[in-house]
């Protein structure tokens, strides 16, 4: 369907599609097997300005909005959600600086993120703090001109691959949600290290590790925003970033649909292509309907977020739930359409199904997203 993209947006889509078709799709199975970080592809995306897309113009970026990033991520996600995650994680890691950082902090870090010279990662989750961000135990204590961080972050995307980490830590345990602050930690800061790469069900080539802070000392001016604003920065970041995850769901669902229809037209049983059987046809129809519906919601949410920066939580959460649930359903059905072949690793749909699952989990589980939507409804109807 025509979404009336501007010429510039269409250009971004076409370029992302070209890189996806020529470089990502031919290599995704190999990266899934080896679980190796896709550095060559990440560097290609950087050279083609995709890391500049989400950085403001005054800090060396292209100043693209949420919609622009969504369009790019949809194409890259159509090729491989793991590789797209390796890319998107830098956007997520950079957003706290974009939404909450001082001019000095932005000037110091954003130009290198825009050029791809430095990759970023976002560090919130801990063993006792995931959906309940209030359970954070990592602490930061001021000692002279330095903050001293202690604690462990868990399942951090781009761990070991990023050059800078935006980290939330408790600066005042007596103040509850207002006692948390965000910091920029550089990969070579003393007392900072990454654990081994986790073995995952899907998105295998994206790096996921623990981050360990052991008396990790960083200069005082690495705090993002004011002390105690950590949670606000995290919420603002996730509101902006979730449509990106949603668009990975749209891209992935589209890829699974494309594989399914192509296969159903070429697979003959009982003397007919299986697309001629209504049982298969209706499955494909539902996959297409759901994918288009998800895409439409993601695009509308992204445009809303670009236009109404103070009121984005509900739109952001809604599109994340819808598109990632659709991705899960459509990829499961794709494996069913391809049946025995679909279950084989020689065909791409089993990987798509494995990759889909994380979309319902990371950047806030879909249950948490429904909480957000519900809470917003509660506010709206007072």
């Amino acid at each position: 369907m025509d979404h009336f993209l501007t010429e510039d947006q269409q250009m971004i889509v076409d370029l992302a599609r070209q890189i996806t078709d020529e470089m990502i799709i031919p290599n995704r199975a190999r990266y899934d097997e080896t679980e190796e970080y896709p550095l060559d592809i990440v560097e290609t995306l950087a050279k083609s300005d995709f890391f500049a897309l989400f950085v403001p113009v005054e800090y060396g970026g292209l100043g693209g909005g949420c919609y622009d990033l969504v369009l790019a991520l949809e194409q890259i996600g159509r090729g491989c959600v793991a590789i797209a995650t390796a890319y998107a994680a830098s956007a997520l890691g950079a957003y706290p600086i974009v939404v909450g950082g001082s001019h000095e902090l932005k000037s110091k870090y954003l130009p290198d993120i825009a050029s791809g010279k430095k990759r970023a990662a976002f560090a919130l989750t801990e063993s006792n703090a995931g959906s309940d961000a209030g359970g954070i135990q990592t602490t930061a204590v001021l000692d002279g001109d330095e903050w001293v961080l202690n604690g462990t972050k868990q399942w951090i995307t781009n761990g070991g691959q990023a050059h800078l980490y935006t980290v939330i830590a408790i600066t005042d345990p007596t103040k509850g949600p207002r006692g948390a602050s965000m910091f920029v930690v550089e990969s070579d800061d003393p007392g900072f290290s990454c654990g081994p790469k986790e073995k995952k069900m899907g998105i295998r080539c994206s790096a996921t590790t623990e981050l360990i802070f052991k008396d990790c000392r960083i200069p005082k001016d690495r705090m993002i925003g004011r002390q105690g604003t950590g949670f606000i920065t995290v919420m603002k970041t996730l509101d902006k970033s979730r449509p990106g995850i949603a668009s990975l769901g749209v891209g992935l669902a589209q890829a699974a649909l494309d594989e399914s229809v192509t296969y159903a037209k070429g697979r003959y049983q009982f003397g007919k292509p299986i697309i001629a059987f209504q049982a298969v046809q209706h499955m494909l129809a539902d996959m297409a309907i759901e994918t288009e519906a998800a895409r439409a919601l993601v695009y509308v949410a992204a445009r809303h977020i670009d236009a109404h920066p103070k009121d984005m939580s509900k739109a952001s959460a809604m599109c994340k739930v819808k598109a990632t649930d659709v991705a899960m359903k459509v990829t499961v059905d794709a494996v069913q359409v391809l049946a025995g072949y679909g279950y084989m690793r020689e065909y791409p749909v089993e990987k798509m199904m494995r990759d889909a699952k994380i979309l319902q989990i990371y950047e806030g589980t879909n249950q948490i997203q429904r909480n957000v939507v519900g809470q917003e409804l509660n506010k709206e109807y007072t």
Binding site: E7, L15, T44, S48, D49, A52, L62
Partner: protein, 262 residues
Amino acid sequence: MRIVVCIKQVPDAKDVRLDPVTNTLSREGVKSVINPYDRHAMEEGVRLKEQYGGTVTVVSMGPPQAKAILQEAISCGVDDAILVSDRAFAGADTLATTYTLAQAIKKTGDVDLVICGKQATDGDTAQVGPGLAVRLGMPYVTCVKKITGVKDKVMSVERMMDDGYDELEIDLPALLTVVKEINVPRFPSIRGLRKAKAFDIPSYTATDIDADPDQLGLGGSPTWVVKVFPPEPKGVRTMLEGSLDEIAEQLADILSDSAHGA
């Protein structure tokens, strides 16, 4: 360093068809692309610029539609583009083409390095690079697979050979033709695409490049294409099947028969 890269628009090799009646290349409906070797020439130019500073200008002789490939070149990091286009250039062989390109390049000012693809995938002559070097009075190296350095106006290169490679030094200004092994061409960038869209590509006519009309196009071309045809199939191919021993036996029989036959 001021670098000029010559590029040509050719029919996409993935999409080439022969006209069944005339047996000539059918260009109708066939997508036009940058000659694949020229992509590597462009990329090498941009890499040299990134490493040593300077500018890269792409030049293409062709019909007005060739502006598309020049725009694509801009999107891939090239600074400037010039189309050399005039009805008088039509039907040029390599002699007339090198004359035309040389006139156009001279018009752009002093050049330190000219890079061409080894050959174009449509004509496959590999003559334009060397011919252009002679016209420009430059030394040249063909089939370059690596540029190893530039120092005091001397460039070190590796020339691909059938049995390895030669290490050569060449005084600048010079002309190189490059093979695909030299690099992996980059994708366009978003900034490049925006620049390309706004870029107004100048077009040089025969008058603009002070060309002698007798040396242009069909009239300036001593080479005439008499006929284009697919080669006749030679001989019959036989696949031998069976175990290694059986195949060896069959092969021995065939060789022995053909030896006796001869």
